[in-house]
């Protein structure tokens, strides 16, 4: 990809967003997902929070169908692809998949809280934490 646009979504609205870091000069878009907002009855409190957050980032703001808006933004900038951050929400994953049927899409992983050598056992927190806690603390050194 030489001329991508960035799709910035609700899970990575900060300067640590890996797409913003990798492509600081690329045009970047945030879309208010009107279907989600209506179906989940998202209140104005959250919309205001998202809006104020987005205003502190170099983003174009739109609302509507996210896939259609991202593809239109790519055309507007004659982009050859889309870069985004990997999402956890299945809704964001579905949007990413739909974008990818039209344009090359690169998903970059955000910085992990803890990097484990193999997938941890989930199911109950204590199992996970037994494996994760010592690794989290590896990067800590008392100031003395």
């Amino acid at each position: 990809m030489k001329r991508p646009i960035l799709w910035i979504h609700e899970e990575a609205l900060g300067p640590a967003n890996p797409a913003l870091r990798a492509w600081p000069e690329a045009p970047a878009l945030f879309v208010f997902d009107t279907r989600w907002i209506q179906n989940s009855r998202i209140s104005r409190k959250r919309l205001g929070f998202l809006y104020e957050t987005a205003l502190e980032l170099p983003l174009t703001l739109r609302k509507g169908d996210v896939v259609a808006e991202v593809l239109a933004f790519a055309r507007r900038h004659q982009a050859d692809g889309v870069v985004t951050s990997t999402g956890v929400d299945p809704r964001l994953q579905q949007i990413a998949e739909a974008i990818e049927t039209e344009l090359p899409l690169q998903e970059l992983d955000p910085d992990p809280f803890v990097e484990l050598s193999r997938p941890p056992r989930l199911g109950r927190f204590s199992r996970y934490w037994r494996e994760a806690e010592p690794v989290v603390w590896e990067s800590y050194s008392p100031a003395g």
């Binding site: 609700e10 899970e11 990575a12 609205l13 900060g14 300067p15 640590a16 967003n17 913003l20 600081p24 690329a26 045009p27 208010f32 009107t34 907002i37 209506q38 989940s40 009855r41 998202i42 209140s43 104005r44 409190k45 959250r46 919309l47 205001g48 929070f49 809006y51 104020e52 957050t53 205003l55 502190e56 980032l57 170099p58 174009t60 703001l61 739109r62 609302k63 509507g64 956890v88 929400d89 299945p90 955000p110 910085d111 992990p112 809280f113 803890v114 989930l122 109950r124 927190f125 204590s126 199992r127 996970y128 934490w129 037994r130 994760a132 806690e133 989290v136 603390w137 800590y140 008392p142």
Partner: protein, 308 residues
């Protein structure tokens, strides 16, 4: 961060506002279906960093279960990646003198990471009961709709109506208030956890199906070995008496009583609740609360936390 120059076209939403009022007006116009007003909690990295600079991990560890405790208020920012868990972790590391001072807060960040990993695993399945409820009541016996008096905050219980008001006006609630509300709705009002969880997501600025739905399921016992409930002593111990002081229901408080009494009232006898067990079949830990009494064998929940 460099600002990218892009020329505006029709349909782009404005990026400059004279005031928050003006932003609110735009939101009313552009998103007419959304209800309510702006929250006093501001979005943005600056607000997030201001909150982060206030974090005191050692005080947090001592007081986090209290409504007035030194909790961070970072959840809306973490939920939206304004701050990453990695950034918060590093800020905690920089601020503590020893590991002990930070272990509680790091542990709570771990809860968020855990729920996120569970969501990746479960996908849309997060909306379903993970297990049968252990309350002695069939899943189908819980109401599917949120009662109107709960939604409107007119139940006559000063604590619950107060939490509802805070939820609706600010979009944030202390963890303990979330647990009490969830337990009251599911176990006292016999409303299915999903109705409460969806309502929370309408309002919570940090609303996130991972932390929210799975915490509700943990309370309901569809994702734990037994239901979470509480009594008035517990509420007063961590919330003070400010609600009870002017509560019209103070003399018929549904939370009055010992855990044994309430357990008998709320749940139909069921081996999984009654048994004191040997620790093997018990849920280990809870959504981030170390002083929760889970009824007869509940005091052991803390003991059942991972031992090191």
């Amino acid at each position: 961060m460099p600002t990218v120059q892009t020329t505006s076209i029709p349909g782009d939403l404005p990026r400059t506002f004279a005031s928050r009022k003006e932003l609110e007006r735009l939101l009313v116009e552009e998103f007419p279906s959304a209800e309510g007003s702006l929250s006093p909690i501001r979005g943005g990295r600056q607000a997030a960093e201001a909150k982060l600079s206030q974090v005191n991990p050692a005080r947090y560890a001592k007081s986090r279960n209290h409504l007035k405790g030194a909790v961070t208020g970072l959840s809306p920012y973490i939920r939206h990646g304004v701050l990453t868990l990695a950034e918060v972790r590093d800020a905690v590391f920089q601020r503590i003198r020893n590991r002990n001072d930070g272990s509680k807060l790091i542990n709570e960040l771990g809860w968020r990471d855990f729920w996120q990993r569970m969501w990746l695993d479960l996908g849309e399945g997060i909306h379903d009961d993970q297990e049968e409820p252990k309350t002695g009541h069939a899943a189908s016996s819980y109401a599917k709709e949120l009662p109107a008096d709960v939604r409107d905050g007119t139940t006559g219980l000063a604590c619950m109506d107060g939490f509802r008001d805070e939820l609706v006006s600010t979009g944030w609630l202390h963890n303990h208030a979330r647990m009490w509300m969830a337990a009251w709705l599911v176990h006292w009002r016999r409303v299915h956890w999903k109705a409460g969880a969806d309502w929370f997501l309408e309002h919570l600025i940090d609303g996130d199906p991972a932390s929210n739905h799975l915490s509700w399921q943990w309370v309901a016992s569809t994702f734990s070995h037994k239901p979470y409930f509480f009594n008035r002593d517990n509420l007063v111990r961590y919330g003070g008496t400010r609600h009870c002081d002017d509560c019209s229901s103070v003399h018929r408080c549904p939370f009055d009583g010992s855990y044994e009494q309430l357990e008998g009232q709320l749940f139909a006898p069921m081996p999984a609740i009654r048994s004191t067990g040997n620790g093997r079949n018990r849920r280990d830990g809870r959504p981030g609360n170390s002083s929760v009494n889970r009824g007869r064998s509940g005091a052991s929940a803390a003991l059942a936390r991972p031992k090191r």
